[in-house]
Symmetry: C2
């Protein structure tokens, strides 16, 4: 299909009728929206780049559309927002067939429905590698920021950490089977955290989503807030449970290392005095700086080994 026909096909698939503040969806130069007057807009953009964020042999096109969308929507949840509308910019290589594109769009569409958002437009382009860039607008009565955590706050988490990293490692190593099945699914189809995100708004002092790694991302939150984060090893392992333990064993990794340094689960972490519905406690905020883990032997500083797009080999 030519560009125009592809746009028409996507338009039919995403099927945006006016309503819910959407005055005009796909098919014009831009979408036209009417924002609710009583809420803040939360706005993010996120790119999924072939050979950086995924290899084709690790995912179906539908997975690819799904996980790229959830990754972008996760930033909105991390601010205590509900995803509202999205645009998707696709750069496609010439060997991406009409059927591949349709599968990719189905993945985006399934993810959009899962988070309660509407895809209202986008952009199609040729390119030498596949890139999926998603921008999401969310709504919140009260945005939760990275800055704002206080000494004495508990550290709370919604969603697993480490499982997706184990799944990615299993895919890279070519391992399959029941031990890693759940981990591979965690990487390919990360769960949306919309209700957890909404539950934080007005309760949490600060929050972030775990994309690069728990220690790395919570390190950003702690630094922004001027506090020290202390994870509890036992709570982290209990939270990871059998699934993390099994997956870690299958890919020959330390479960606590996976939990602290594995990324792409898109869990939400919040700093809060009060418990938050859907979250479990994994540590707390103390005076000082840096990220620590409390073990039997005492507190150990956690080195930042989160993913860095521009880190040079040492």
């Amino acid at each position: 299909m030519r560009e125009r026909e592809r746009i028409q096909r996507l338009s039919a698939l995403f099927g945006v009728a006016p309503g819910e503040g959407i005055d005009l969806g796909i098919g014009d130069d831009a979408a036209v929206l009417r924002a609710p007057t009583d809420q803040e807009l939360v706005w993010t953009v996120d790119a999924h780049v072939e050979k950086v964020h995924f290899e084709r042999r690790w995912v179906t096109w539908e997975d690819c559309g799904y996980r790229s969308f959830i990754a972008a929507a996760s930033d909105v949840s991390a601010m205590g927002g509900a995803p509202w509308c999205a645009l998707g910019a696709l750069s496609l290589t010439s060997d991406v067939s009409d059927r591949d594109l349709e599968a990719l769009a189905v993945g985006q569409s399934v993810a959009a429905r899962a988070v309660g958002a509407r895809i209202v437009g986008g952009n199609l382009s040729a390119g030498e590698i596949v890139t999926i860039t998603t921008t999401v607008l969310g709504l919140t009565p009260h945005a939760v920021r990275r800055q704002g955590a206080k000494v004495g706050d508990g550290l709370w988490i919604a969603g697993e950490v480490g499982l997706a990293a184990a799944g990615l490692r299993a895919l890279a190593l070519g391992k399959a089977g029941s031990l890693v099945e759940q981990a591979v699914l965690a990487w390919r189809r990360p769960s949306p955290r919309v209700s957890a995100g909404l539950a934080m708004a007005g309760v949490a002092h600060a929050a972030i989503d775990v994309s690069d790694g728990l220690a790395c991302d919570v390190g950003h939150l702690a630094e922004s807030s001027g506090v020290r984060a202390v994870f509890d090893r036992a709570l982290l392992l209990a939270h990871g449970g059998d699934a993390l333990a099994r997956a870690a064993e299958a890919v020959n990794a330390d479960p606590i290392d996976l939990a602290l340094n594995g990324g792409e689960d898109y869990a939400l972490v919040a700093a809060s005095v009060l418990p938050i519905h859907g979250f479990v406690r994994i540590g707390e905020m103390r005076e000082g700086a840096g990220v620590y883990v409390r073990e039997d032997q005492g507190e150990r500083l956690v080195e930042d080994r989160g993913f860095d797009h521009f880190a040079r080999p040492e």
Copy 2:
């Protein structure tokens, strides 16, 4: 620099302080905005992909940042909106230096200021080719759509057409000099059309920006509106003036062909009964379908030769 330092550098460069509806800019999971209650939001995303939209030898990094931003902002102007806020997602190859990135960001920043928008966030990623994806939110009291042109409307244009295509051809052919200088500049540094876009709102029946080619883009507008577009050859050539004539001669092209089929000038075209401030008339809307040009010998159907990302060689 590592990813984190690059983000801090960009944050300092774009320098968003709260205000003008921006509650939170760069540095968190998402930007936080408060939309004016009396206006519609106009929202677009646009990608600039290396080897598709540009070759490095044709542009400086600053040009690259500038033109990618103007291309995205143009979609907002085409809806009668004023650009308000923007996010930029950059995929960078490992040979893009810190200085290159800074130049790219300066280009984005200059363009943002030129259209009156603020860059409030974005995304950095590695990648095997450079891709700059820009999403822009605009505000308008009354969005102008593609659909809505009426028989008897004049066809009005703000900005040149064909010059950028001549400039691109000159760059590809390695031609330089005074004959093509203005054309090359039109391609590298397209002019923003913010005031023209605002002037349309509430006056024009329909509008579009010229990115793929005048005939192609106005063809979309005509088809959406169920009318026929007729350009006046003499008016088009008069509008192109000496600059188009000279550039066409230098790259051995027909000026009317450049005007009708050249893209990337980001001119605005509107269908309107009344004249619009900043626009000149180049034709009108008639009953029927298709795109025609009126010449001395009568009306000639214009074949659609606009840019198509997925057209196969015949």
